[in-house]
Amino acid sequence: MKELNCRGLTCPAPVLQVRELLDKGTPSVVSVIVDNKAAVENVRRFLEYKGFQVQEEKFGVDFRLLGTAMEGACEVIPDLEAEINPEVRKIMVMVGTNRLGHGDDGLGKALLINFIKTLPEMGRDLWRLIFVNSGVYLTTEGSEALPVLRQLVEDGVYIMACGACLEHFKLMDKKQVGETTNMLDIVTSMQLADSVINI
């Protein structure tokens, strides 16, 4: 999925950003966040014009449009990895905690950091890394996992942090890495993944 944050942009800027994104290749799912009604309407029209089915939802004080490429949409370009090597699997790792296993909490936290640091061993098979519940702490200021997460983003892994969870822990402005996501993205990701690993 491709995400665009068009908050603070007035028409026609949001449409132009979406166009620029689609010019690089058509993603199967695209998410656009805008903060005004005119932009909602215009981005919706543009996505529909480009052959996407569009869902609209409130996103905090803003709006979010989720476009899903329909059949016959301007030819959908498969994920880059799959293009290079059709053998590549799509593994999604969902981290729903800030510690690994039960018993000693201090040990659990250290183990989870170690787990994240070892994830790059999956190579290209690691497709998406999603943080929910207290797992979102790993993406925020002061997290020991930040350097390796940033490296993973550079290597093309898509990292997402649950927006509702960030809000719950009042961490929205502390997030340092990854895109903010919602349940629909998470469910869509699970559906698209070849396998899902839950921590």
Binding site: T10, C11, P12, V15
Partner: protein
């Protein structure tokens, strides 16, 4: 944009004056958030700000704020009244000289729409002196003067303030006979509605800002916005006109809604007959629609009923805020065709009969 590209534009007379600062071409539309009449405060907000104000009373004020007409009219004597109006906005085109011409044509239009003759004007300027070369201001004002000369209007002064964004316009004063004022609110059942310019300038300007409009359409729409409504107004003088307004920021349907409110009549619009820029249809489909169009629909949509076969893009264009749009004239059925032909003969090529005034449903606009 490269200097070579600009030279090409210059050859095509697209930009009459080119401003180059530090080897870079200033694209005026990239320096502002809103564009032209699309930058108007949403009509609902304006109503909230102005309703219930305690206004001074004067018997000689024939058309005042409460009438929400194109311009105010103040009686000086039994055969002379002053018609006064003011309009200014941020640039909707990149060339400062063309912007000046458009702003002036737009400001003068309200006087023509009332059936008056503009006489004097004053400049209103907000200028970002820290970010734009002063030569830009010079070109804007020269453009305004060009249009004033076309209209036979003298510039008597002006006022300039420093601001973050460029804005330009004029306050215009004209003469009118107190018995021959054309207001919005005097529709007669059976009248035909005539529109003198094509619709879609807001959408086309959005496409220009987005860098998606080609030379031909850009030139066409700039030319139309620079065109005075003077010929149309002169033609009207010879016919039986019951009401008139000019189409600007509230869009075609927004201005029609102002006409039907409290008129005791309704309007029937034939959308297929409405002159428009065909390119705007595709851009509307792509979402290159100014925010003002959505505001207009929100504020005035309740007056309008669309037949099921009127496409979304047509609806968008009918709500599209126009900059320096045409006149909308209510003329007797018997004279409508003759006025249209007269307008075309005077060079108002796009003039078309777009609808009629009907008895029922009252205060509604049916678009088919």
């Amino acid at each position: 944009m490269t200097v070579a590209a600009v030279n090409q534009l210059r050859q095509h007379k697209l930009w009459e004056k080119i401003i180059v600062t530090d080897e870079k071409i200033v694209r005026l539309t990239q320096t502002v958030k809103g564009a032209g009449c699309a930058a108007k405060l949403p009509p609902g907000d304006l109503d909230r700000a102005l309703c219930g104000l305690d206004l001074p009373v004067d018997d000689n004020l024939i058309v005042g704020l409460e009438r929400a007409d194109d311009a105010g009219v103040y009686r000086v004597s039994d055969d002379l009244a002053l018609v006064q109006t003011l309009d200014f906005f941020p640039p909707m085109v990149d060339d400062p000289y063309s912007f000046g011409r458009i702003a002036a044509a737009n400001a003068l239009s309200d006087v023509y729409a009332m059936g008056g003759t503009p006489k004097t004007a004053m400049n209103i300027v907000a200028f970002p002196a820290k970010t734009l070369d002063i030569a830009v201001l010079r070109a804007v004002v020269e453009g305004g003067l060009f249009t004033l000369r076309q209209a036979g209007v003298v510039l008597v002064g002006g006022h300039t303030v420093e601001d973050d964004e460029l804005k330009y316009g004029l306050s215009v004063t004209g003469f009118i006979h107190p018995e021959r004022i054309l207001t919005k609110k005097s529709l007669k059942v059976g009248d035909k509605l005539l529109l003198t310019k094509r619709l879609g300038t807001g959408i086309v300007c959005t496409a220009i800002k987005a860098g998606m409009a080609g030379e031909t359409i850009t030139q066409q729409v700039v030319e139309s916005m620079m065109t005075l409504n003077r010929e149309a107004a002169l033609a009207m003088a010879d016919y039986e006109i019951s009401a008139c307004t000019d189409i600007t920021g509230f869009g075609f349907l927004g201005h029609l809604a102002e006409m039907v409110v409290d008129s005791g009549a309704g309007l029937h619009i034939n959308s297929a007959a409405v002159p428009l820029y065909p390119e705007a249809l595709e851009w509307a489909m792509m979402g290159l629609i100014p925010a003002g169009a959505y505001n207009n629909r929100t504020f005035r949509g309740e007056f309008v009923t669309f037949a099921p076969d009127v496409g979304q893009e047509i609806q968008d264009i009918l709500f599209d805020p126009q900059t320096s749009g045409g006149l909308l004239i209510a003329v007797s059925d018997a004279e409508a065709a003759a006025l249209r032909d007269d307008l075309r003969a005077r060079g108002v090529q796009d003039a078309a009969i777009v609808g009629e005034v009907v008895a029922e449903p009252q205060e509604k606009i049916i678009v088919e």
